[in-house]
């Protein structure tokens, strides 16, 4: 199917009344939960997951995607108005965005973020339209060795891009792989790490672990310093960027979009790297680098554009290869599997309506965000100022119901409690849980592809280096690992990532 027919199919899928309505509901709910301080996209998606259970697959996916970028957008609003980043990638937005808010320019900062995001979202969606079919047809030629190398690249990138030490991140990834191996081994049917429990035969549910570690773990962490939580929301005045603002932010938005589109596709890098690089680039080429950190509108527009462009294009590896690039995408795969869809290169040919409907609805969702959020910003500001002692019991209830309703299993609820405590432990020990989450889903895939590769080559591991694509991927991964030794990169990494905590 060519692109034009695909888009037509997409429009007819995405604009059915129910799909349109659920896209709207997803964007609205996602923003509403995403603006709540301390709730990142992962916690938001897992809390809102039950709302998608009764829906047909395409509608559910459209709504989930809406929740995802709604929550991301909501996170930026909180970052600007409250100086509280909901997730690592909006840390950059707080730097200049909150400064602008302090100077009474909150509305213009929000508008810059919204316009940048919308433009980047449009370009990102177009990029998916062009690149995803190409990659999917290319992916059909990938053998197990290529997949294995890509998975390694994803895991290594996510470790390098985590705050804290590389060794800790490596340990977290290994721990995640072990968690992923719990359950029945698909090749031999042997039960591994189940300790005789029938509940563990199907493995730990990925959504349960993510909800526990990110959702409940964050609640426990926030209650730790409940007394010192300061709630101050900057007032929002005029929402219209001045002519001067337009002039200053248009080029940064273009550059941010370019960076975001490209980096979003890189497995493991995703949104975080995109927004940091875009900010760094603007600061570097600006004629007034001293204004950065003091309320430069370029410092809001560029990373927000990059962040949203990457949020679109990180769907590409997930949809075409079935490989999640970020922890959030891993959760999306978990949610798709609940719906009975296995993402991979075949999804485009076998379920074209699903794929094209999603792509078109992404663009519609971005359009909705633009028109929904700027006028409603007063309402979001009210939501942000709801005190935490009302919020967290509500969050706990939604998470508990959500986790229970995945399999109607009480066992999952207990597991969430357990992983909540573990998530708290890891955060207290300075260990970022993102590599764990990604490894839990990528680990078993890596095992499977490694097995297949070595079965074909009769145990000869040199195939990973004789296939050009696999070799290239491994070289990139090795370069990334080496780059961390370079003092200059180390400095940038520490500066960029330490504030993400």
């Amino acid at each position: 199917m060519d692109i034009f027919n695909g888009l037509l199919l997409g429009f007819s899928t995405a604009t059915t009344l129910s799909n349109f309505a659920y896209c709207f509901a997803g964007v609205l709910l996602g923003t509403a939960v995403g603006v709540l301080p301390g709730l990142g996209p992962i916690a938001t998606i897992s809390m809102l997951l039950p709302f998608t259970f009764g829906l047909p697959v395409d509608t559910a996916l459209i709504m989930l995607a809406g929740i995802f970028y709604g929550s991301q957008y909501g996170g930026s609003t909180t970052a600007i108005l409250m100086n509280l980043p909901g997730e690592a990638s909006s840390v950059v937005t707080t730097l200049d965005g909150h400064q602008m808010a302090k100077q009474g320019k909150a509305g213009r900062a929000l508008a810059a973020a919204a316009i940048g995001s919308f433009f980047a979202g449009t370009v990102g969606t177009l990029f998916i339209v062009i690149a995803a079919p190409l990659l999917a047809s290319l992916a059909l030629t990938f053998g197990p060795a290529e997949y294995f190398s890509l998975i390694m690249l994803g895991l290594i990138t996510s470790m390098v891009l985590t705050s804290g030490s590389l060794l800790t991140a490596f340990g977290m990834a290994l721990f995640g792989i072990v968690l992923g191996m719990i359950g029945t081994d698909i090749n031999t049917g042997a039960a591994r790490y189940t300790f005789g429990s029938p509940y563990l035969l199907d493995g730990l549910d990925f959504v349960v672990v993510a909800t526990g570690i990110f959702g409940l773990g964050d609640v426990l962490m926030n209650l730790e310093n409940e007394r010192s939580r300061v709630v101050g929301v900057a007032p929002v005045s005029s929402l219209f960027p001045t002519a001067e603002d337009w002039r200053r932010m248009s080029a940064p938005i273009l550059r941010g979009t370019g960076i975001g589109v490209l980096l979003g596709v890189l497995p493991g890098a995703g949104v975080l790297l995109a927004s940091f690089s875009a900010y760094a680039l603007e600061k570097k080429i600006s004629k007034h680098p001293e204004q950065f950190g003091k309320g430069a509108i370029e410092g809001v527009a560029a990373p927000e554009a990059a962040n949203n462009a990457a949020a679109q294009t990180c769907f590409i590896p997930m949809l075409t290869l079935g490989l999640p690039g970020t922890a959030t995408m891993a959760l999306m795969i978990g949610a798709l599997v609940v719906q009975g869809v296995q993402p991979g290169p075949e999804i485009l040919s076998q379920q074209p309506a699903l794929f094209w409907g999603l792509v078109v609805s992404m663009w519609l969702g971005n359009l909705m965000l633009l028109f929904l959020n700027l006028p409603l910003v007063g309402m979001w500001a009210k939501l942000i100022s709801v005190p935490y002692h009302f919020l967290f019991p509500t969050i706990c209830v939604f998470m508990a119901i959500g986790v229970y309703s995945i399999n109607n299993s009480v066992f999952d609820v207990y597991m969430m409690a357990l992983f909540g405590v573990l998530g708290y432990f890891f955060k207290r020990m300075g260990a970022e849980p993102a590599p764990l989450i990604l490894a839990m889903i990528l680990g078993p895939m890596a095992e499977e592809y490694l097995r297949r590769t070595l079965l074909i080559s009769h145990g000869d591991a040199s195939v990973f280096f004789t296939s050009p694509l696999s070799l290239g991927t491994l070289v990139v991964a090795a370069l990334l690992l080496l780059s961390i030794v370079s003092p200059r990169f180390r400095k940038v990494r520490e500066e960029g990532l330490q504030e993400a905590d």
């Binding site: 060794l167 340990g171 290994l174 072990v178 409940l216 209830v397 207990y414 207290r428």
Partner: protein, 153 residues
């Protein structure tokens, strides 16, 4: 050895890794051309033990970061309340389970005061959840749990 972040994390990795290796040893290992179910787990868990040891080793050279005081109350009460929700959701039904979870988690806040407002708020929230999740979304969760039905509700 002083307790620091690295010491605790290293110990966690080592202990978990050792348990994981010893469990995985009981699965057939196979050869690299024909891997058994034990092959990958043994390698990964051994690497985990090694990483844990390196983290412990590193902790001897880095200035230990002080572990801040822990508020034990939420740490026990919140996971505990989630477990109670799990126990109650099928036996007592969703509204009562939500009520228990709301009140028990809210009680961990330093701002919590028991009063008619807290009770009324939780009751309203429990009712709202039941309507949204069971009536509107149609999730198969009982409103009246199995224990209460035995009693004739």
């Amino acid at each position: 050895m002083k307790l620091s972040q690295d010491v605790l994390l290293g110990l966690f990795f080592v202990v978990f890794g050792v348990v994981s290796v010893s469990v995985a040893m009981s699965y057939p290992f196979g050869t690299s051309g024909r891997m058994g179910p034990g092959y990958f787990p043994v390698i990964i868990s051994s690497l985990l033990v090694l990483t844990g040891l390196l983290v412990l080793f590193r902790s001897q050279f880095v200035q230990p970061e002080m572990l801040p005081a822990i508020r034990w109350k939420p740490l026990f009460l919140i996971p505990g309340a989630v477990v109670i929700f799990g126990l109650a959701v099928e036996t007592l039904g969703l509204p009562l389970a939500v009520l228990l979870l709301t009140i028990l988690t809210a009680a961990t806040s330093i701002k919590f005061q028991i009063g008619w407002k807290a009770v009324a708020g939780s009751l309203a929230f429990a009712a709202l959840c039941s309507v949204v999740f069971i009536e509107l979304l149609g999730l198969p969760i009982p409103i009246v749990g199995s224990w209460l039905r035995v009693l004739g509700f």
